[in-house]
Symmetry: C3
Subunit: 415 residues, 3 copies
């Protein structure tokens, strides 16, 4: 059964819930400690959860050829939606398909590019763009914004300057551990666990543990992350969930819907379009990206909801999360020609995408104490029909509570 109830803005339940009486199904698909990386693998609901009437499956698929050689996909089909995770690319989500709906976009990058073919340092620090085509990829963890110089600590303990690369490293680090866990009892939640380490000597020891999960027959799924500092000193970190949409949700007349408290244009180009920041044009050759830095209202618990809605108002994606976990929301509009990548990004994060040196100055680069963790959850639903879409929009209005957003006409002065 699917209902808009899956939109309920509740506190995130992280990782496997305790208390199930039957042991969940578990299978390790990748483990560097156990020296495991299974090639092609599949399970289905009929065998694992015979009591579940919705047929579901999970597959691991090895990709071959070109820049895809060595990439693994994990495809979760919950009977209603099909979600494709890419362990090789930092546990990003390539796409989510539900009938004729899709979360994803048509990037000019056509292959699922193995990190071994990506040089983040290339193109003046823009090499990340060589592999960018996921619906959701994480930016971070040591830094996550625009390229350019920032200070760091060298191997001899000196503060020096290095050139940060666009959007950090995490999307190009292969997961070191992946496990599939399925509850044996209703609602038979299907969970893909992954761990990605961003570690080096004389540098951060950050660990990302993610659980991407859904229930058979649901139109929703959850991304529940935990970021831990395994080092012995305080460690800065940043993360943004770069969630990218093209057809069919994005089109001429689509709108961005969220309880906006304040919107600031990222730069002069964005300032020109700030009056229509929440409305989308059709594909426009030569369009220059417009980026907006948003503050969203949350409810009493800080929970909020951001949507991308099509023109007809009968399709939408809704992302629910906590503004305490993710206080900065970036809206990236790139309604260029289809061939160049017609896309918009809805991007909740700890920070905005200015270079870390700027974000630090503005107090937006959090730190983790030794051994400390930060938990973050995103609940994502694909909405079909005017009723579901309208109900979600109603929740946004309820959080907005009639407060007009503050609109900055000029980008912030950063010097």
């Amino acid at each position: 059964m699917v209902s808009t109830a899956s939109l309920a803005i509740v506190a995130a339940v992280h990782l496997v819930s305790a208390g199930a009486s039957a042991e969940p199904f578990r299978e390790t698909l990748i483990s560097t400690e156990q020296n495991i990386d299974v090639a092609d693998w599949e399970i289905c609901g009929a065998r694992v959860t015979p009591g579940c009437s919705t047929p579901w499956s999970v597959r691991k698929v090895a990709l071959h050829g070109g820049k895809q050689e060595g990439v693994s996909l994990i495809v979760v089909d919950n009977g209603k939606l099909r979600l494709t995770v890419v362990p090789t690319r930092g546990m990003g989500v390539l796409s989510v398909v539900m009938g004729d709906a899709r979360l994803g976009w048509d990037s000019p990058v056509k292959e699922v590019v193995h990190p071994k073919f990506v040089n983040l340092e290339s193109r003046g620090g823009l090499g990340w763009l060589d592999g960018f085509n996921e619906w959701m990829c994480r930016c971070g963890l040591e830094w996550m914004g625009h390229p350019g110089p920032d200070k760091f600590i060298t191997n001899v303990g000196d503060e020096a300057v290095m050139s940060l690369t666009l959007h950090g490293k995490i999307a190009n680090i292969p997961a070191r551990d992946v496990e599939v866990v399925v509850d044996r009892e209703s609602p038979y939640r299907i969970r893909v666990w992954g761990r990605v380490d961003e570690r080096l000597f004389f540098g951060p020891k950050l660990e990302l543990r993610t659980e991407i999960s859904t229930e058979p027959g649901s139109n929703s799924f959850r991304i529940a992350d935990e970021i831990t500092n395994d080092g012995a000193q305080d460690q800065e970190f940043q993360i943004v969930y770069h969630c990218n949409h093209g057809r069919p949700l994005l089109g001429e007349g689509s709108t961005f819907v969220a309880p906006v408290a304040r919107v600031s244009p990222f730069n002069a180009t964005a300032a020109k379009g700030v009056g229509t920041f929440d409305r989308y044009a059709g594909p426009t050759a030569g369009y220059i990206e417009q980026v907006y830095c948003l503050k969203l209202h949350g409810d009493q618990e800080g929970r909020t909801l951001a949507m991308l809605r099509n023109k007809a108002g009968d399709r939408a994606v809704a992302m629910a999360f906590s503004t305490r976990e993710l206080p900065c929301f970036t809206l990236w509009k790139n309604t260029t020609a289809e061939k160049d990548g017609y896309v918009t990004g809805l991007e909740p994060g700890t920070s905005y995408s200015y270079n870390r040196s700027i974000e630090r100055k503005l107090g937006r680069v959090p730190k983790l104490a030794p051994g400390a963790s930060r938990r973050i959850a995103l609940d994502v639903s694909i909405l079909s029909g005017a009723e579901q879409v309208g109900e979600a929009a109603g929740r946004v209005r309820a959080i907005q509570a009639g407060r007009a957003p503050r609109v900055d006409r000029e980008p912030p002065k950063l010097d």
Copy 2:
């Protein structure tokens, strides 16, 4: 049957010729869309073209160990010559062997290096040299010349400066599609098709489609390329066919033979040797490369012929192509010690090897409109015996038609 008729300078026939009544043999060896990369594979003429009296074969071989791990070769043996294509390195041609003749050289790079072990950014942008040992590798496509700063458009639409790397990216991009196609009817042409994408987000969307083909029993083969701009905006491109020769064609007394209209030394070092630009010394330890930028005469259709001929005049390679497709010809002389790479490059291209910023200023960086393509063909023959060599030299003389080349004593002033 082999004859110098294969040297005929005719307009290039691109891709598979139409009109064959029997369906050609086809086998997909690599396809990212079909998730195919066959490991070891072989076909032979006896099974595919029983009517063909010349035994031929095509093999795909996976390389293992060291920096070769993951590299694939496609070896075409037409019964007379054996041509080795490297899909993993941008569909370059490693070598062509015909009896005791060889197109190729003895590079100090001894392995067929997988791109994952090449960092183009290293060594101040000279990392390309870590994998350079093919007879023919393409330089390009977004840029193809010397390293150094040039402008480009960033992810925020700004013009910025990046550091180009030597000879571009295409030789270190693995082919995403490879197919073998063999005509079932005489002359039973054997074709290796490949596609290599040089694409990124906020960057070029260039596609290279190549057909490398030969006929059973022939001393010739053809490289027919098509470069397409799949983006929605005009796109600059550059290509050079970096065709490199060592023993046995190169040796003391070997000569370069072509209908030269003009020769310009690339730099001061080359200027010193411009008087003997078309003659080769034996291996000379400490020799500094001498590079010449040539304009060649073509016939009425613009077709021309460039040769490397041994001292005895009984061996040669001849390359036939169109000066309209490839207006710039670079002659690279590097007659250093054998251990350091005794080699000369015959390099037809769209441009010379100055940094793109210079080539652009001089009008030598072509553009492709959205969806537009450029076709380029090279016909290469290995010539044996004074008769074949003499006939080809006669064709060069016919195109030269007694016109003396203009010889620049100084390199161009570039500032």
Copy 3:
């Protein structure tokens, strides 16, 4: 049988000793020329050397998952100690385990990282730190010290400036040839041969041939290297053996024991601690590395011995080598928190770790003539019990012969 006799400071016998009457066992595990890279493989003493009463084995293991995908290990178990070589990472030695003793450390880098995931250019030239966790890795060969600008010769023969990367390339180059050779006659020496090429066009043509060997039942092993210049011109090279120790040899109160002629602090931070350069603190969060440049005394043949000894004096590692082969000894103290990498490096080398431009100026960058080789051997023993440890310390004292070390209070003036 194990005795301290294995510490005997004798001239190194390189490569396989001649004169064995029975042909040794040989197996090629990796060969780029023969296109071999065996996956999982094992031999054991019972089959190869039935006359040997000590059970031994050699295994090749392929690692899977995360950044380990594609890495091979060679595990030599001589019946007493287990030594793990990493062909994929330049024939480094990951660890050596003997009962509850271990040569190695707990790096924050937890995976055995494949070079395809290491970008040496990243982090301002500190990308090497992404994969650093071996007991012994070689730094070199074209350069081996700290990152920063130094001159080099470009592809056009010009002297230009490139940015060297930390510790050079050799530890991130996969071996192109690996062979296991076992003598059929007593003492049944077990040898792992490897070859790693650091070659490029317009650059060095350096070859490293290593033999890592041990005898069944021994507490010792030997690393015997040969570095060859295969180019036609003089070639600079540098090498350091970066041998890193954590628990159990390193701990509060551990000492460095060697016949020290002179000690110089690497920089101002090290100068502060020069008075206790040979004594170790326990894990100290926020500790900044202290590096000392040592000159060691040798015996008449130049042989010397360096030890790391635990506080109780009942455990030690002893490294014997020639000061003529390795005139510069670096002691790296990094007694930071366990989580950040509590470690010390005992590092004999041709040079110290200053940038090559400095080492060259100070005459510490040797050259190899065309075709010339340099041989280097390290004999390493794990010592157990006060008797073995005391005997080795006695040998150090004998070489020291009562001469007080000269202690520089200030780092050298380098400008």
